[in-house]
Symmetry: C3
Subunit: 213 residues, 3 copies
């Protein structure tokens, strides 16, 4: 997507994608560490958490080359991150808490959802598809992360609003886009609302309705 003449929206989107990737990689790294995977596992799970969502998005939208081929520096950074993190973790006995995972996760969710919706709309996808693509981009990395760790994805089982936040943010993006708002406004609004809702949900301990079966 960088072959187009870079506009402000473009630039912002790329920065957003970098930040989101880092946030997710971190969440994957912590989860893998808590699961006592070996160094290779830690790297792979970090990679999956970071690039899984975006790769699924590119695969479904049939976008080539993948964003991590266009930006190999991303992969190098990821590799460095994993190695450093593991060395660091070996030295200092790092207490890995749920909280430590949830915060970068909330950010990444918003960032990825926004890019997903953005690219889907650019490809003339229907609104609902664009929103679902946003959710997939934001959630699939974490889902893959949990599945590889042989757990039921927390996104689907912990009764906390997660994908729902991306759903709300995604529709906000589509709405603003439909009203003709500039890309960067829609992007920013989507990120802020999605991440904001997610953090509110954690802070307020909101939970999705349970149900008898």
């Amino acid at each position: 997507m960088l072959t187009e003449i870079p506009s402000w929206g473009e630039m912002l989107r790329v920065l957003v994608e970098l930040a989101g990737t880092l946030a997710f990689a971190l969440s994957g790294l912590l989860k893998a560490a808590r699961k006592r995977l070996d160094p290779v596992g830690v790297c792979v799970v970090s990679f999956l958490a970071a690039f899984g969502g975006g790769t699924l998005r590119d695969l479904l939208l049939d976008r080539r080359p993948f964003f991590w081929v266009e930006h190999v520096e991303l992969l190098w950074a990821m590799l460095a991150l994993c190695v450093l993190a593991m060395l660091f973790m070996r030295q200092h006995h790092l207490e890995v808490t749920e909280k430590a995972i949830q915060w970068p996760d909330a950010l990444g969710l918003g960032l990825f959802a926004a890019t997903g919706v953005h690219l889907a709309l650019n490809d003339q996808m229907p609104m609902l598809v664009a929103v679902l693509m946003g959710i997939a981009t934001g959630v699939f990395g974490g889902v893959l992360r949990d599945m590889v760790c042989n757990e039921t994805p927390t996104a689907f089982s912990d009764h906390q609003p997660y994908a729902v936040c991306a759903f709300a943010g995604g529709w906000l993006y589509v709405g603003l886009w439909w009203l003709g708002a500039p890309d960067w406004t829609a992007l920013l609004a989507c990120v802020v609302v999605t991440a904001g809702l997610r953090i509110l949900a954690i802070w307020r301990k909101w939970s999705l309705p349970a149900w008898r079966v």
Copy 2:
């Protein structure tokens, strides 16, 4: 696939695809509910069970746009189905039985296998590939459903004939197609035989040979 001039076979295939999608969504919904997933999880698992097989098929056959992009109404229907089902389940304490899952599953299996073989043959795939594509289309949704629910896919472990039925039905389709029978005959035959065998297998309690290792 709807860009072609719709013929009877085309029409039938689309209807067949709709029915199959609904059947699988239901099986996913019930499984997720039994697994006590949260509402988001229930929706996602229903989506995966319903669209997983067809999406894999389109991905492997490199067909774009996906059938659920061409028919966004499918996604809307699914969303409505999930919400309604969850509201319904909240009110009436619904007893979810294996049986309730197996029947729509049997139908979906036959319907999806048929469409898979049909599209693969249209793309000049070799016969065996077409049959395997049919099996994948019919089985993968359920496999994804079980994997996300962190279970060994029942299709591979419960010693009941399942994929085998699709295998038989698929070869029947290929055979009729090879004999130059019209699409709708082959489709119908494949659906009837596959679903029929599956239901017979359940009713007669057929089981695949176990083995010592």
Copy 3:
């Protein structure tokens, strides 16, 4: 990839691919058997272990038709292999040992990593991407195998050098290719080093550094 005029490197690569496919199928077959899957599950897991890595590679590199469509005989052979193996296992109470799995696995790893790097470089992928593609091609089949069997992939959790061997072998390939060495040299070197390191690791009981979290 067989549409190009076959060269020595090409020929070798194809043979390599066949051997690797067989090796992985076997590892999948044994794992599924140990997991007490039913015959269908055994076949599917063998297929996934054998074709999963290569298919992911072709999917990510956007290569069509898949190598198992170009060589349907591969699928037929696999089917025959599974049926024969199951008949054989039914008669003779076969003791399935870790060792029996690890050896073909080591070979397959080297063989697949080499083909993955080879094809990625042919598609002008950046070096790191090529290496990662090699690892993915070599490891993903086994990962899929374990995930379907509802286990945390051993490649990520058993603290044994596995993907790491492919990483080393892959960089060796890239290095030789960068120095302008002929394909078959690079291929052979990559296979020998990767498989060799893996076998050494098993024999010497090397293990990746564990770490406190």
